[in-house]
Every structure is written in structure tokens, then in C-alpha cells.
């Protein structure tokens, strides 16, 4: 069964940044659960947490530019029954504060949520220092951490709200730039369950984040050439939905992964960890190939670093060729 998505994906698709979904999700959570508190490190408007700050000033904690302190403050707040959302750019909250996330939060199994913004190369002009391309790898490797990479605005709202219902550490990764809105408020979303967005027979593209849109476009392009592509939105990188991945690999016998992140240790690696053990099939990894980004317009960067539908099409053809013995 395929899922109902937005109707205008392939023509005049709407675009909204996923960070808006985080901000709006927090605003809803503020009303739903008074235990929710939000911590910000001097990036309130960029991450849209100013919405929560304005609505619930008593539950917003400004930490200043001090991400390590912020992570452990959140840990302490969780020990008083709060549900804290740490909010800053991915390079800082997952990189600079990684030890705090690992040892204080995850080892302690504390109920801290990490809103990890500016994920991916589409951060654009700020350049490599601010483009989180390693965050999926370094958070998914920490035991007990749930890692979610929603594909669009609506899914980020849902992921943010869902994070508060999970007991334990959760990282939600979202981006800066406007990206296509491919789901609707009604599209099903469940943490830990990958969704098949398009059925296909010849190859499966497993994607997360904005690459789900690119995968759908790639599937359209491949259809023009008579290639039937299954597209899976695997928004939860950890715990990963093994069953759906294995079933897709069994059916199509060729898999491409797509992520706006380093391929080393990242999302594609997570998929490969499952398939290489339980359903080995030819694979290709679309993502950033062991290099830092640079300044530029987001779409130019996506092209330059091989993160477009065309790159997925190419990878799909390669795995199909291998599958067919050539």
C-alpha cells in the first residue's frame, strides 16, 4: 500500500524550511505538555524557537553561546521531570557537545531532546563550518539515542511532537533552506517505521531528509526510461526499520541510499549494516563523498556535491547493471 502524499510534488511543489517545522512543533508541544522546556544558545530566531520563547517565556532558557553547558543543563532539567529540547546548529549540539550527549545524557539515559539544525550542505553561504555533514554518523553510534531525519516541514512538526513522547534521548535533524513539502499533515508518521512512498520492482531508493524528494523525482525520471523504482522514506535512522528495508531489498534486489550527509558512517551505512547481513544486494551510496562543503547557493552546492535526483538516477542504473550481472 502506498501512502498519500502532497498532490503537487512533481509540479509547483511548495517549499518551506524544515526548521520552521521544528519551531511550529515546539509551539504545539508547549500547549500540549507543560513539562516541555526549550533551551537556546543565541540562535532563537534562526531555529524558530523564538515562537516558543514568545509564547512560553517562563519555559525558555537562554544559555548564551555555550553548547556544552546547554546539553548538561538540559540533562539536569530532565532530572526534575522536565522534557528539555536543546536547540542549536548540528555542528555544535552534536559535535562540540558530543561528549556531553554521550556521557551525561545517553549513558545516563536522560530524557533530553536535541533539535539539530542546519543539517546538510544546503546550509549554503555560511560554508563548511556551519554545514553539519557528520551529525548522523556521530549521534547514531551512541547507544540508546533515537535519530530522526524528517523529510519536510510537516514531518518535522510530527517528529518534534513525537520526540516528546519517547522516554530517552532523541536527535531531530533539520535544515536551513526551503525544501519541498511532499507530505501532508495526514501522511502517516511513526518513529522507527520507514514508509514506502512509491512502489517499484527494479530498484529501491532509501532516503532521509530532503533526499526523499530527490528520490521521488529520480523515480519519475527512471520511469521515463522504463525503470520501476521503489522509494522509501526512512526518516528514523535509529532504531532503523529493518523489516521494511529487508523486504524492499528482497523484492528489488538493488538498493541506492541517499542522504545529505557524509556517506562514511552515515545513513547509507546504517542501511548497509542491515542489508549486508540479512539481504545482501548491490548498493550505491548517494551522499557527500568524504569532503567538506563550501560557500555557495544551496542548490548549486547540492549539484556540485552530487546530491540531486540525477545522481540517484545514475546510482540506480549502476546497481541495476550489477544486479543483472554486468
Amino acid at each position: 500500500m502506498t501512502i498519500k502524499l502532497a498532490e503537487n510534488i512533481y509540479k509547483d511543489v511548495d517549499k518551506i524550511p524544515t526548521r520552521f517545522g521544528y519551531g511550529d512543533g515546539l509551539l504545539k508541544l508547549g500547549e500540549m505538555d507543560e513539562r516541555v522546556v526549550v533551551l537556546g544558545a543565541d540562535l532563537s530566531s534562526s531555529l524558530r524557537v523564538d515562537l516558543f520563547k514568545d509564547a512560553y517565556p517562563d519555559r525558555f532558557i537562554q544559555t548564551g553561546i555555550a553548547e556544552q553547558d546547554m546539553m548538561c543543563l538540559a540533562a539536569g532539567l530532565s532530572l526534575t521531570g522536565k522534557i528539555p529540547f536543546v536547540s542549536t546548529y548540528g555542528v555544535f549540539c552534536t559535535g562540540r557537545a558530543w561528549d556531553q550527549l554521550r556521557t551525561t545524557v545517553a549513558y545516563g539515559n536522560l530524557n533530553v531532546k536535541v533539535g539539530s539544525g542546519h543539517g546538510g550542505i544546503s546550509v549554503g553561504a555560511d560554508g563548511a563550518t556551519h554545514q553539519a555533514l557528520e551529525d548522523i554518523a556521530i549521534t547514531r553510534v551512541v547507544p540508546g539515542v533515537t535519530v530522526i531525519v524528517p523529510c519536510d516541514y510537516h514531518e518535522t512538526v510530527k517528529a518534534t511532537i513525537a520526540a516528546a513522547q519517547i522516554e530517552g534521548p532523541v536527535v531531530i535533524r533539520f535544515g536551513r533552506e526551503k525544501v519541498p513539502v511532499i507530505t501532508t499533515p495526514e501522511t502517516p508518521f511513526k518513529v522507527g517505521r520507514a514508509e514506502i512512498y512509491r512502489e517499484g520492482e527494479d530498484v529501491t531508493v532509501v532516503a532521509c531528509g530532503v533526499m526523499v524528494y530527490e528520490a521521488l523525482i529520480a523515480a519519475e525520471m527512471l520511469a521515463q526510461e522504463g525503470i520501476s523504482t521503489q522509494v522509501i522514506n526512512c526518516h528514523t535512522v535509529k532504531p532503523i526499520d529493518k523489516e521494511t528495508l529487508i523486504e524492499a531489498a528482497r523484492k528489488t534486489k538493488a538498493v541506492v541510499t541517499a542522504e545529505e550527509h557524509q556517506v562514511m558512517g552515515g545513513f547509507g551505512s546504517a542501511v548497509a549494516e542491515v542489508l549486508s547481513q540479512d539481504m545482501p544486494v548491490p548498493m550505491r551510496f548517494v551522499g557527500v563523498q568524504d569532503t567538506f562543503g563550501q560557500s555557495g547557493a544551496p542548490d548549486d552546492l547540492m549539484k556540485a556535491y552530487g546530491l540531486k535526483a540525477e545522481n540517484i538516477v545514475q546510482a540506480a542504473k549502476e546497481v541495476i547493471k550489477i544486479k543483472r550481472g554486468g
Binding site: 553547558d69 543543563l73 539536569g76 551525561t104
Partner: protein, 276 residues
């Protein structure tokens, strides 16, 4: 302070020192120096200052203690056992496979531990977060955080110091176990943190300096903390690393080395005439 109370606390401190030696000897590894220097501080907290209930470790009304210098956990394990959180015999399982007494504190395993610590510099932020949570809820619980002086090299401590004064966390009391030694030598030579009291004052804290082995002075300082408003308090406790065991005192070599059976026997003889 009543003579009988002082004697009771000093007796507890002596018993805890003996426990530390016995635990470390059994474990064959661990950190005696910074455990022994903090004995009076931890004894004062668990047996006089803090509101807590060993029979109900999750009691909501309890004060919270965060051991930021996690490697000194033997002193806290000994105090928790003496207080009745778990059987004293379990102390001898320290650092063994399957033990609840991990080499550094694991809050998931042992009742009475509030946080998992060991990576230095993180505890004061955790304690500040708890204190902030209590403030937000209008609760009156206090939060205590024991830091090492070498640990103050960590920048995060000073991030937390700014946060705590910014939010006027007068329910937060830091204690610096100022024993002047860290692994590589004297703290002033490794990285000079002086003038330490002035640093904390400049960061907006109420600073109290005490002889960290005089339990009456320590308790008096905690009383002053409870009567201080609108700013956090730090007690700089001047201590001696390895306090109580002559051959361990003021020797960085005993930071992270366990006594063998002969050394342990000698230490116990010094501490209590070999009675325990």
C-alpha cells in the same frame, strides 16, 4: 556544634576512609587521593546537611548531590553504604564485572546516584540544570556539586558558573576539593587557576573558604550557603590529597593507584589502628 555530634561525624569520616582503602585494595585499581581528600565534605553532606532518605532514594523532597569529579566515587559509595542505601559488603565489588559500583558513577545502576559522571567538567552544568528546574517549579530542594580543583581547567565549568549566577541559582552550592594536585603534578604548575576565589567572585558567586578537613567549618559554610540569596555559593575547601594516610598525602602518584595488601594494612593501621 555539640561535642557528641562532632565526634559522631568524625567517627563516620574515619569509617569512610577505612572503607575507601578496603574497596580500592579489593578492586586493585581506582582513585584514593581525591577520594580521601573529600571525606569530610561528603560526610558533612550525607550525615548532616542534605535532606535525603536512604530507604526512599527517589524521594521528591531530597536535596541532590552531583559528583562532578566522578573518579572520586569511592568516597560517595562508602557514604551511601554507611547511610544505608545498599549493603556495606557490596563495597568490595567496586570495579568488578557486573558490579553496581562502576569505576565511575552510573546512575542507572546504583540507588542514590543522581548522574553518571566521569568526563570532567560536566557536573556543575547538570547541577545548575537541576537547580533551575527546582526554581521553575517553586521547589525548595538544594543542589550540591563536588568538583575537583584540576577539573576547573575545563572550560565548561566556567560556562556553568556564568549560567548559575545569571539565573541567580541560590539553591546551588558548588564545592571545590582544593587539594592542589592533579595527575601531572601540582595544580599551580599544570595550569595555574589562582586567584581562584577571585575568579568565582568575578563570576558572580558567593565564595566561602574553609579547611576541608574541619567538619565544623564545612557545616558552618553550608549553613551560610542556605542563608545566601540571589547568587550561587561555592565553598573552596582547602584539602590534602590522600588525607589520613601518611604515605599518600600530597603525592600525585596516589591519584589513580590502588594500595596493595601491605600498603592497605599500613593505611588501615594509621586510620584506625587496624581495627577494621
Amino acid at each position: 556544634m555539640e561535642e557528641s555530634k562532632r565526634e559522631r561525624l568524625e567517627e563516620l569520616a574515619r569509617a569512610i576512609r577505612c572503607d575507601i582503602i578496603k574497596m580500592l585494595e579489593a578492586a586493585g585499581s581506582g582513585h584514593p587521593g581525591g577520594s580521601l581528600s573529600a571525606v569530610e565534605i561528603v560526610t558533612a553532606l550525607y550525615f548532616e546537611v542534605m535532606r535525603h532518605d536512604p530507604k526512599n532514594p527517589q524521594w521528591e523532597g531530597r536535596d541532590r548531590f552531583i559528583l562532578s569529579k566522578g573518579h572520586a566515587c569511592p568516597v560517595v559509595y562508602a557514604a551511601l553504604a554507611e547511610a544505608g542505601y545498599f549493603p556495606k559488603e557490596e563495597l568490595l565489588t567496586l570495579r568488578q564485572f557486573g558490579s553496581r559500583l562502576q569505576g565511575h558513577p552510573d546512575r542507572k545502576k546504583l540507588p542514590g546516584l543522581e548522574a553518571s559522571t566521569g568526563s570532567l567538567g560536566q557536573g556543575l552544568s547538570i547541577a545548575a540544570g537541576i537547580a533551575l528546574g527546582f526554581k521553575m517549579d517553586g521547589k525548595r530542594n538544594d543542589v550540591y556539586c563536588l568538583m575537583g580543583d584540576g577539573e576547573l581547567n575545563e572550560g565548561q565549568i566556567w560556562e556553568a558558573a556564568m549560567t548559575a549566577s545569571h539565573y541567580k541559582l541560590d539553591n546551588l552550592c558548588g564545592i571545590v576539593d582544593h587539594n592542589c594536585l592533579q595527575i601531572d603534578g601540582w595544580t599551580c604548575e599544570v595550569k595555574n587557576m589562582e586567584p581562584l576565589a577571585d575568579k568565582w567572585k568575578a563570576f558572580g558567586w558567593n565564595v566561602i573558604e574553609v579547611d576541608g578537613h574541619n567538619i565544623e567549618e564545612i557545616i558552618a559554610a553550608f549553613k551560610r550557603f542556605k542563608h545566601t540569596h540571589f547568587k550561587p555559593t561555592v565553598i573552596i575547601a582547602h584539602t590534602i590529597k590522600g588525607k589520613g594516610v601518611s604515605f599518600m598525602e600530597d603525592d600525585a602518584a596516589w591519584h589513580g593507584k590502588a594500595p596493595n595488601s601491605e600498603q592497605a594494612a599500613l593505611a588501615l593501621k594509621e586510620l584506625c589502628g587496624g581495627c577494621c
